[in-house]
């Protein structure tokens, strides 16, 4: 292979990396919102993403494919719909389980309920992924998308020797993901609810005195976090086949991205997820498949060991 072909391969995987990275970024934002407001790392986040995927898959099959005049963008609507649906699920999960070990209830637990929260979400992950195996079956499924087979061509560049293909399905998914992140970040920064969430995060006690219902703030943040990550899952559902254990693979990506960007920062999490996506796709051209996740893990471990505040130094809280 000559140099030009190397460059072409690199650019190709870089482009693919940006497209998947944006979706990873979206999922990381979901995880970081929960951490930023509640100071809880949700070990079950990958499982909520998996639920987002299956939501998209099942509504799609239940509606019998493309019901509206073969409108090709229909699966994206379902993916976005996974957000509000999983928001409600997250809300319920918080109300029935997490609330008992967070917020005001945490103070009476050993070590501020810190490990109780982790263990609880860990148990939740076990129930969801294994329950998923039962309900959804262990077979690989995916949302069939016509768009997956079409690509835009960039080029020819450099004396007609380089052509880059941009997958249409991934591009639209990435654009939607970016849109959700931007809307959400703006909402958190500007809206009254966003401000009260940040207040509850910065100083729960003071927030209570200011008349903010911290428990409700946590519930909303958990719902947001779960819903946002589920949208990311829905957008990936037409990308590659999946099964109920897929959460474990993605949870690695999410932790790596969030830690890379600095726990609790929305912008950091998005950039972290984006970097992980690029890293993963670029490394795919020279690393065997199984080692890609190992490499992401190594990045993650190196980050927390050497620079726990994150690479970008964006340690602001949920802003």
């Amino acid at each position: 292979m000559d140099v030009v072909q190397y460059i072409e391969n690199f650019l190709q995987s870089f482009a693919a990396g940006i497209l998947t990275g944006v979706i990873y970024g979206l999922m990381c934002v979901g995880l970081t919102v929960i951490f930023g407001v509640m100071r809880v790392i949700n070990f079950a986040q990958g499982e909520f993403m998996m639920l987002g995927m299956y939501f998209t898959y099942f509504t799609f099959s239940w509606l019998g494919g493309y019901p509206f005049f073969d409108w090709l963008y229909f699966p994206f609507v379902l993916a976005l719909l996974a957000g509000p649906v999983l928001f409600c699920v997250g809300n319920l999960v918080h109300r029935s389980l997490l609330q008992k070990v967070t917020g005001q209830n945490a103070s009476r637990l050993e070590g501020g309920g810190h490990y109780a929260q982790l263990v609880l979400t860990f148990g939740l992950a076990l129930v969801l992924q294994n329950g998923g195996l039962w309900l959804f079956g262990s077979g690989l499924v995916s949302v069939p998308s016509e768009l997956s087979y079409s690509a835009w061509e960039m080029g020819p560049l450099y004396q007609d020797r380089i052509i880059i293909f941009i997958n249409q399905n991934q591009s639209i998914a990435a654009l939607l993901a970016l849109g959700v992140v931007l809307v959400f970040a703006r909402y958190m920064a500007r809206s009254r609810l966003g401000k009260s969430l940040r207040a509850a995060a910065d100083n729960p006690e003071a927030a209570v005195y200011m008349g903010i219902d911290v428990s409700r703030a946590h519930r909303i943040a958990f719902g947001f976090g779960v819903g946002i990550t589920a949208i990311g899952g829905g957008l990936l559902a037409s990308n590659a086949p999946f099964q109920p254990y897929i959460g474990t693979d993605y949870v690695i990506i999410m932790y790596a991205g969030v830690v890379l960007g600095g726990l609790g920062s929305i912008r950091g999490a998005f950039l972290g997820g984006l970097s992980i996506g690029i890293l993963q796709q670029v490394s795919a051209s020279f690393l065997p498949n199984q080692l890609q996740n190992t490499m992401i893990f190594t990045c993650f471990l190196l980050t927390i060991l050497l620079r726990p505040q994150g690479l970008f130094g964006l340690r602001e809280r949920v802003a």
């Binding site: 951490f35 790392i41 070990f43 389980l97 008992k100 070990v101 637990l109 050993e110 070590g111 810190h114 490990y115 109780a116 982790l118 263990v119 609880l120 860990f122 148990g123 939740l124 992950a125 076990l126 129930v127 969801l128 992924q129 294994n130 329950g131 998923g132 195996l133 039962w134 262990s138 109920p244 474990t248 690695i252 932790y255 830690v259 726990l263 065997p288 199984q290 080692l291 996740n293 190992t294 893990f297 190594t298 993650f300 471990l301 927390i304 060991l305 726990p308």
Partner: protein, 590 residues
């Protein structure tokens, strides 16, 4: 040791009756379950030895389990190494794994520690897949069943598993009752106080993880022998880490029998349900473990064993109560005397040009002062003058940006708090930091560990310290039952038990009523009478003027004045710093 004998009796009785039960069972499927119960109990005990006692929850014990399983499978495949030997090797490699994981990971705290531990086994999972060990079957060597641990009779595996369980229980029982267990309990309850009391927290955590990982490695190897097939998912998967954690927490973390109870209930339940409904409900095991741990966290965070004990009306067993030798020995206070004649000319501590800033805030600014051996020195200054930061620098919680601290002529820079405590500097905290679930006496015993070679000596020192501060009568109370004054005195006793030459006392009078102030003052005088140097921080000058021999006055991290109390109270700079310029004129007018 009495308690240990009782434990031993219980262990032997349990294991023999379990083995006897197995002898009555003929069904090989039930025998397999009966083998898996002790296997997972050992795994639970392994998790418990580290996480249950130290309080650092590991979400990745599968890493060590898997290393053990692959060690046995691969050495048999490559070199026909008998499991009798490779099980030992598996334990050894597991222990080394614990060391390799612990060394970098203990630098992390809280969430980061949890995330990193979750990551290790998953990394291993992918690496073993990549190496091409998707499925390693153990070679059958039927002609020598005994030599290769391949028995026709499945009952033999139950017996072997029970032997492993007995070993794990004995190791746990011995360690839990020793300095190891006490140190880990102290770390679990308040790591900072433990470090300041002379406990090398990093050492104990590493040791705990190594022993725990060696246990996990051995039992992982045995698991491979029993199941005959090893796959990355089955030994490194999240469910393995989860089972270890859930079994221990379900039964009761930090107890000897908790993990056994957890395994006896959860393993048969999940295995039998899996056998009957596994085809219809494939993930049922994971669902059961998941629900079990959620239920425990919400309804019985301490584990089932405590609920059972409460139900059967058993007396709540107190946490390891050390023997109370020395508590009422007459004249034991002399144990604490530091044995060096006070020589007013000699400096015990010399601080030179100390600098420390936090971001833009200059907390300590070019500070130099000395402490004479045997004196009672007061460091005063308004709130925010940098007093507590100074103590944190002196006892090693914080490192200075520049400058030097010399204790008896040797530099203290870059030493960890526990090492500084062993050199002879103890401290108390402004906000009392007791270990809430240990008795007053055990709280003090922990302070004595740094200065003693064995448990007995530690108890003697603790007894002497309690007697000196006058708390010998409440020795068995829990910190929650103590008054504010008693808590302060307990802090002082814990510092004294380390047999220090110098004690740093942080705002011990704050919020005490006048009578308590007098009591504490008297105790401090007794301490100096023993030849122990005392440096005491206070922001109110009133109580201190009567007590101390000399003052060091700080303001904004810098030295404002030093001298005897009579001079200090008239020093214009001091009055200005405390009361402002307006009052200075007022004071000078009189």
């Amino acid at each position: 040791m009495m308690i240990l004998k009782r434990d031993l009796l219980h262990i032997v009785l349990f294991c023999i009756s379990y083995a006897a039960l197995a002898a009555l069972v003929g069904n090989s499927y039930y025998l397999l379950i009966m083998t898996l119960v002790p296997v997972w109990a050992v795994m639970g005990l392994s998790w418990n030895l580290f996480s249950g006692y130290s309080g650092l929850v590991s979400f990745g014990h599968a890493a060590f389990f898997g290393v053990g399983a692959y060690t046995v499978a691969l050495t048999l495949q490559m070199w026909q190494l008998s499991p009798w030997y490779s099980l030992v090797l598996a334990g050894l490699l597991g222990g080394i794994g614990g060391l390799l994981v612990g060394l970098p990971t203990f630098r992390l705290r809280g969430h980061y520690f949890a995330l990193a531990m979750l990551a290790y086994p998953l990394v291993m999972l992918y690496i073993f897949e990549w190496l091409g060990y998707q499925e390693v079957a153990l070679m059958m060597i039927r002609e020598q069943p005994l030599a290769f641990m391949q028995f026709e009779n499945p009952q033999v595996y139950v017996y072997l598993a029970v032997v492993l369980l007995a070993l794990a229980l004995i190791v746990t029982a011995i360690l839990a009752r020793s300095r190891f267990g006490m140190s880990l309990l102290a770390i679990k309850q308040n790591e900072e106080a433990a470090e300041a009391a002379g406990i090398d927290t990093r050492y104990w955590k590493l040791l705990a993880l190594c022993i725990s990982a060696a246990m996990a490695g051995t039992v992982g190897g045995f698991y491979a022998v029993v199941l005959l097939v090893v796959t990355p998912f089955a030994v490194f998967g999240m469910l393995v880490s989860a089972q270890a954690l859930v079994i221990a927490m379900f039964g009761g973390a930090g107890t000897l029998w908790g993990p056994v109870l957890g395994a006896v209930i959860l393993v048969p339940l999940s295995e039998i349900l899996h056998a009957y409904y596994g085809a219809k409900v494939p993930g049922i095991q994971g669902v059961i473990y998941g629900f079990a741990v959620i239920a425990v966290i919400i309804y019985a965070p301490d584990g089932l064993i405590w609920k059972l004990r409460a139900f059967f009306g058993a007396r709540q067993t107190p946490l390891p109560a050390s023997s109370v030798a020395g508590l009422h020995t007459k004249g034991s206070a002399s144990l604490l005397a530091c044995g060096v004649e006070a020589n007013a000319a000699e400096f015990i501590l010399e601080v030179k040009q100390l600098q420390k800033s936090f971001g833009g805030l200059q907390a300590i600014d070019n500070l130099s002062f000395n402490v004479k051996r045997g004196e009672l020195l007061g460091i005063i200054g308004p709130n925010g003058a940098g007093k507590t930061t100074l103590f944190n620098l002196l006892n090693g919680f914080v490192q200075p940006d520049s400058g030097s601290i010399e204790f008896e002529g040797a530099s203290l820079l870059k030493l960890k708090p526990n090492k500084i405590c062993r050199r002879g500097i103890a401290r108390t905290f402004q906000v009392a930091k007791p270990f809430p679930r240990l008795s007053l006496f055990d709280n003090v015993v922990i302070g004595a560990y740094g200065a003693s070679h064995n448990n007995n000596q530690a108890c003697m020192l603790a007894g002497a310290a309690l007697q000196l501060v006058g708390l010998q009568d409440s020795a068995h109370n829990l910190p929650a039952q103590l008054s504010n004054r008693e808590l302060r005195l307990m802090e002082l006793a814990r510092a004294l038990a380390a047999n220090p030459k110098l004690i740093l006392v942080d705002e011990i009078f704050a919020g005490l009523d006048p009578e308590s102030v007098q009591v504490v003052e008297q105790v401090l005088r007794k301490v100096t009478a023993l030849g122990i140097t005392v440096v005491i921080i206070e922001h109110s000058m009133k109580t201190m003027v009567q007590l101390v021999a000399r003052f060091v006055v700080l303001d904004h991290g810098a030295l404002l004045a030093t001298g005897i109390p009579q001079d200090i109270v008239r020093n214009p700079k001091v009055i200005e710093a405390y009361l402002g310029k307006k009052w200075l004129a007022h004071a000078q007018a009189h």
